[in-house]
């Protein structure tokens, strides 16, 4: 029996700009089960961050959710009033941002920023204001230990700028995990980090996920990271999901030409003799897009039939693809 934590149906998020209406997310549907780790892959402008900013209720004017529904544990989030959202955010769903230096408040110590979350959300704290603060402080210290900050007692009252990039990312994870959320959305948690530190941070998230039975959404552009840490993957392009499925099936046998293009563009250490093949052209502008396949202009398989709205179609067990001519080039198998 499947226990769905998050369900997004036909989400459409737009930004009303001077240049016209930008549809950053256009009809995204996905669901996440309890304990699952879902990878969301896409390049800049694919709508991956905006999709999850919509989940968190962080879309500000001129942006708005034009259509669709987002349910978290069967509660509708679209149109939820700000007070209710504040109770949810940080407690039940937490998000870590890509750039830890800008996401953390430079004017407050790290301890204060974790304690703030606990005081706002943790109902188990009891007693006077002072007593609550003392308990929160102890818990905050525990969190810093959990995320592996060396000698946390001495670093506890430092400011964010006194930490290195990897340590800041850990602090942000500590803030996100302080109230033991049931869903963690990690937006490019390791993009700004070096590869040895990236490994540390991803292991940390994987470890905590197992320990707390948390569901994780990992937003990234690195397919290697997805391959190692995610059960399932969705590939986004120009505001739409173009392919989804179990990670290893998608990577071993990609169906959408964009997914294939992505996989062919990365050099692989295991096979350096293999020539990389770039995808030609660039991502389309998201203003006033015609009703056609969005990848069409860069696709080697494009035909006149692609000049229409393309729907997701099944292409194997638990797999879907948004392409009229899916499969490996030449082979044509679906």
């Amino acid at each position: 029996m499947r226990d769905t934590v998050l369900q997004i149906s036909d989400l459409k998020t737009c930004f009303d700009t001077r240049d016209g209406m930008v549809t950053a997310v256009d009809g995204v549907s996905l669901s996440l089960n309890r304990g699952e780790c879902l990878g969301v892959v896409g390049e800049s402008g694919s709508g991956k961050s905006v999709t999850f900013a919509s989940v968190m209720g962080l879309i500000k004017k001129p942006g708005f959710i034009a259509n669709g529904s987002i349910t978290f544990e069967k509660r509708e989030l679209v149109g939820l009033d700000p007070t209710a959202y504040r109770k949810l955010r940080g407690k039940e769903i937490a998000m870590t941002m890509q750039d830890a230096l800008t996401a953390l408040n430079p004017a407050y110590t790290v301890s204060n920023q974790i304690i703030e979350v606990l005081l706002a959300h943790d109902d188990t704290l009891t007693g006077s204001r002072k007593a609550k603060r003392k308990q929160a402080r102890e818990q905050a210290l525990e969190m810093l230990k959990l995320v592996g900050i060396p000698s946390p007692e001495s670093r506890f009252d430092d400011y964010p700028h006194q930490f290195s990039g990897g340590m800041r990312q850990r602090v942000m994870i500590a803030i996100a995990l302080a109230c033991k959320p049931r869903l963690l959305i990690a937006d490019e948690p390791t993009t700004a980090l070096d590869v040895t530190i990236q490994a540390q941070v991803l292991e940390l998230i994987a470890g905590i996920r197992e320990k707390l039975g948390m569901s994780v959404i990992l937003i990234t552009h690195d397919l290697g990271v997805v391959a190692e840490y995610c059960d399932n993957v969705v590939v986004m392009y120009a505001g739409q999901i173009v392919e989804r499925g179990p990670t290893h099936a998608v990577i071993a046998n990609p169906q959408h030409p964009y997914t294939q293009g992505l996989l062919n563009s990365i050099p692989r250490l295991s096979d350096l003799a293999r020539r990389i093949e770039p995808i030609k052209g660039t991502v389309p502008e998201l203003v006033n897009l015609p009703a056609q396949c969005r990848f069409m202009d860069r696709c080697t398989r494009a035909r006149p039939a692609c000049k229409t709205h393309i729907a997701m179609q099944d292409c194997g067990p638990e797999r879907e693809v948004r392409c009229l001519f899916p499969g490996t080039p030449g082979g044509g198998d679906v």
Binding site: E43, D194, T196, Q198, G224, E228, L262, L272
Partner: protein, 334 residues
């Protein structure tokens, strides 16, 4: 094999005392030891890949080679001439043959100049062309990097990241240089665009007989583009060798950790047997005594904390700076 570039004992320290008063009154000992004694040779027509984590000094080294940072000490011999002793006029002439491509295509192009002006500037500075000849050369190099004459009067903000990087490449190559420092040229780009730029740089190298120092923190990219690889840690080269040697048979524990931290697409590699490094890079202001890697090295023994190992040739072409691999050091199961 003839070396185009020979670097001996290159050192670059930055004075980190703050402000005028700090310099007058401050502790004379506060030096950031960014590059700390580097020996390096690059063969004509070859690509040397320089890899290391942020803060290890790789960009400083790249810039010091062109004397964009004045080296503190050491010798840089370019095509037989020691460029560290050249006066301003001679250096300017020499710079025609040595160019650099920068990491950030947003910050390295003047937003108030058109593409035509940006790309023509080096020729004007060196008074190599004017009038219609200047324009012809600009258009021809723009064509070569995949842009065209319709882009001449546009400003950098009208271009995408990948196109901007092409402008940066055109600006460097219009001088017909022999040697180009590529300082993280693809790190700011999306993967599909990254592959386009790597291919372009590779084609240009073949066509124009260029020699590259290719700086990156991405070991897969380095492995793909390089003939030889140098691994840098805390201002020193810790391992150097042919690409296949370094990737298939790494000698230094740091290189091993770097390689095992890279997430792989293939199912076969399990992340469980990864070498996990503890902690962050130490501060380059106060580097650890002995081997600079001993604070994070899983194999460190007593001698590593006392004596700094020298870069030693281990077999025909591969060298490493580690007590455990050294011929006269203690033999260990590294």
């Amino acid at each position: 094999m003839s070396d185009l570039l020979r670097v001996t004992g290159l050192v670059k320290h930055f004075d980190a005392r703050r402000g005028v008063f700090g310099r007058m009154l401050g502790n004379p000992g506060i030096l950031v030891q960014a590059v700390n004694g580097v020996d390096l040779n690059i063969g004509a027509g070859k690509t040397l890949g320089l890899i290391g984590e942020s803060g290890c000094g790789k960009s400083t080294l790249g810039r010091a080679l062109l004397r964009l940072h004045e080296p503190t000490s050491g010798e840089i011999s370019f095509d037989g001439t020691d460029i560290t002793t050249l006066d301003a006029t001679a250096l300017k002439a020499m710079r025609q043959r040595m160019q650099i491509i920068f990491q950030d295509p947003y910050a390295s192009l003047n937003p108030r100049r058109t593409v035509g002006e940006i790309v023509a500037k080096p020729l004007q500075i060196h008074k190599l062309a004017s009038g219609s000849e200047l324009k012809d050369r600009v258009v021809s190099i723009l064509n070569r990097v995949g842009l065209n004459s319709s882009h001449l009067n546009r400003y950098p903000h009208q271009f995408s990241g990948g196109q901007r990087q092409r402008i940066g490449i055109a600006r460097a190559l219009i001088m017909n240089p022999k040697f180009v420092v590529c300082d993280e040229p693809v790190s700011a780009l999306d993967v599909s665009i990254q592959a386009q730029i790597i291919e372009l740089l590779d084609d240009l190298k073949q066509e124009l007989g260029l020699t590259y120092l290719f700086i990156s923190h991405d070991i897969s990219v380095i492995g793909y583009v390089s003939d030889r690889i140098a691994v840098m840690y805390m201002g020193k080269i810790v391992e150097e060798g042919e690409t296949s040697e370094v990737l298939e048979n790494p000698m230094h524990p740091y290189t091993k950790a770097l390689l095992s931290s890279v997430p792989h697409l293939e199912k076969s590699t399990t992340r469980r047997d990864r070498i996990r490094l503890k902690g962050d890079l130490p501060s380059p202001i106060n580097p650890p005594k002995g081997c600079k890697f001993h604070t994070r090295c899983p194999l460190a023994i007593d001698i590593c904390r006392q004596k700094e190992p020298a870069l030693e040739l281990l077999n025909g072409t591969q060298s490493a700076a580690c007590h455990l691999t050294s011929a006269d050091g203690p033999k260990g199961g590294v």
